[in-house]
């Protein structure tokens, strides 16, 4: 059984990935349309308040797990959270900085599940913090872990 406290001590809250991104206006508009947005601020690149859909950042990914992190099993997508600090204008150069934000367990009848929350913090080229995207992955712990 994995020592979760040791994993927390070794891996939580240190940046293990830094990736640059840029959201193309046409991609932002397509994303918004497919999700059912109808407002001009999401669909019209000429709108003065044109912005990427609030959860667009959830599709921008760097490395998901730190190098050397133990293999637990097959992960499943358990949830996704996004925090919008400032709307993102498509075309803005972005930097995503990734760290493991939470590691916790839940135990049920079928055994222990381990949850990893990976957070990407997005900044513009002036260093303004724009958004956070949390991916929650759940692993069913293997007997030999």
């Amino acid at each position: 059984m994995l020592d979760v406290e040791a994993l927390k001590e070794k891996y939580l809250n240190y940046e293990f990935d830094r990736t640059e991104f840029e959201i193309k206006p046409e991609d932002a508009i397509k994303f918004a349309r497919l999700c059912g947005e109808t407002g001009d601020r999401f669909l019209d690149a000429n709108d003065p308040n044109f912005q990427a859909p609030n959860n667009y950042v959830t599709c921008l990914k760097g490395r998901g797990i730190p190098e050397g992190f133990p293999k637990i099993g097959v992960g499943m997508d358990a949830g996704q959270a996004v925090e919008v600090l400032t709307p993102i204008k498509p075309g803005t150069p972005l930097v995503g900085k990734t760290h493991l934000h939470e590691i916790y367990t839940k135990t049920g009848r079928s055994g222990r599940m381990i949850f990893l929350v990976t957070r990407i913090e997005f900044f513009d080229d002036k260093g303004t913090h724009l958004a956070n995207s949390d991916s929650r992955i759940v692993f069913r712990e293997r007997g030999d872990s």
């Binding site: 991609d27 397509k30 994303f31 918004a32 497919l34 999700c35 059912g36 947005e37 109808t38 407002g39 999401f42 859909p53 609030n54 959860n55 959830t58 599709c59 997508d77 358990a78 949830g79 996704q80 959270a81 996004v82 925090e83 919008v84 709307p87 949390d134």
Partner: protein
């Protein structure tokens, strides 16, 4: 009725029902856009080979439906936070609906909390979300 001000919102109010486009073509187009190339999003047959009942809608697209629903209800709303739990796959080409209810109102900070649920045609919950929304 569209909401234009936080003073128009009542605790416990239901948001207008929203029926997202969960067609295979929409889900496949979305998956392609975000670079998710797995066959589970583009083909019922390939999804079945991966153990799904049919093709599925990407989780972040379901999250996008929840956000769009809020904007359809309150066009000037600014999403501050959305937390989404994927309880079960949203199957493509199956009808789904989204319901939402106002669970908290803070007039001082102009923030409301909304619980949102995606259900399938059997009324089974597939995705659950909570949103914190700024209403001018």
């Amino acid at each position: 009725m569209s909401i234009n001000s936080i003073s128009e919102i009542e605790f416990g109010a239901d948001l207008p029902a929203f029926e997202p486009d969960t067609s295979l073509s929409a889900g496949s187009e979305f998956a392609d856009l975000v670079g998710w190339t797995g066959g589970r999003f583009s083909s019922h047959e390939l999804a079945k080979k991966e153990g799904f009942p049919s093709a599925i809608i990407p989780g972040i697209m379901s999250q996008g439906y929840l956000i769009a629903m809020i904007h359809n209800w309150a066009p000037s709303a600014e999403i501050k936070k959305v937390d989404t739990i994927f309880r079960a796959p949203v199957l493509a080409d199956e009808g789904h609906s989204i319901t939402g209810v106002v669970t908290d109102i803070d007039e001082e900070s102009s923030l409301v909390e909304v619980d949102l649920t995606v259900t399938n045609s059997k009324n089974e919950t597939r995705v659950f979300g909570t949103a914190t929304v700024y209403i001018p």
